[in-house]
Symmetry: C2
Subunit: 188 residues, 2 copies
């Protein structure tokens, strides 16, 4: 062993996430990043490789945390529909903060396979968790049985982007709540 790092990898990654989610990849300079992360340039490059790898690591960590929060809310209520509602309400509550997942999709579309892979994996995981609860809610008679479960789950997941983009565009809390309510309506 030799000299240990003076910072915690996950902590500085969180700082990088805060920069990227607000300014995007191209809009975030190395200068902004090292300042926010509180480490030197060389430490950044030693630890993460380069700016692109740092970005991928940030997106990776962000979506992992985000999915965990989604799923926690989703499973937090005995009745499936209440779980779905709670998950959407959480998105509404957090919407004022820009979403790195949405931003990364907007900025790069499907032009970077490495990034798409991260996005796809998290989308799949979330979709499965939501679909399970939708199926439950259908069995409960709370969500229309005629609905295709997968389609409904996809719609719920897509609604997250709806709400977040609306917030990024300046929608207030009342409007965001209304969007969540309308999304729930589609499930009846």
């Amino acid at each position: 062993m030799a000299r240990p790092k003076e910072f915690d990898r996950d902590e500085v990654l969180e700082a990088a996430i805060r920069v990227f989610r607000e300014h995007g990849y191209e809009g975030s300079s190395a200068e902004m990043l090292v300042r926010a992360m509180g480490i030197g340039r060389q430490s950044l490059y030693d630890t993460f490789g380069d700016k692109w790898q740092l970005y991928c690591a940030a997106v990776q960590r962000y979506v992992a945390c985000e999915i965990e929060a989604h799923v926690t809310a989703l499973r937090g209520a005995p009745r499936a529909l209440d779980g779905i509602r709670a998950m959407i309400e959480r998105v509404v509550a957090e919407a004022p903060q820009a979403c790195l997942g949405v931003n990364s999709i907007c900025e790069f579309g499907r032009s970077r396979p490495e990034l798409s892979e991260i996005q796809d994996a998290s989308a799949r995981a979330l979709h499965i968790a939501i679909a399970k609860r939708v199926r439950e809610a259908q069995a409960d008679g709370e969500v229309a049985a005629v609905l295709d479960t997968e389609a409904a789950a996809g719609f719920v997941a897509a609604s997250f982007a709806t709400i977040r983009i609306a917030a990024r565009g300046g929608a207030d809390a009342r409007e965001l709540h209304s969007l969540g309510h309308m999304a729930m309506r589609a499930l009846r």
Copy 2:
């Protein structure tokens, strides 16, 4: 008078739109722009001022054209609900092409007042046109009368972003169509 310009302002602006919608503001270099627009650097700066003003002009033109297309579809059917459906179907059909409106909101949020003003004005105009047709559809008994008309209109407009982001993320035509269908469901 003196020597006239060799290009059409709107034509080269369309070319700039194609670059910006795909790569964003920060992701589009002056080099990429002049190449796509087919004019010299100096002509670009003489005509549009600088990169930021060119971007604003591009967004301005894009949203104006987009709203016109939305409203044309919206009013193209005798029954209000059919107009709403046609408008959503058009968004689904065009979704494979990135939307400059959505991208500009994602990239800048509300950090550039000049840009927000353009976005807000177009959002207001679209909202009013949709709300009118939603009210009609409510009178027809096609859209639930208990729904707040403004909330429903806001939801329809927000659904455009839903569909477009899903497409940017890689959703296929079937999934996009399903999202449009689910959005219509919320209005019943």
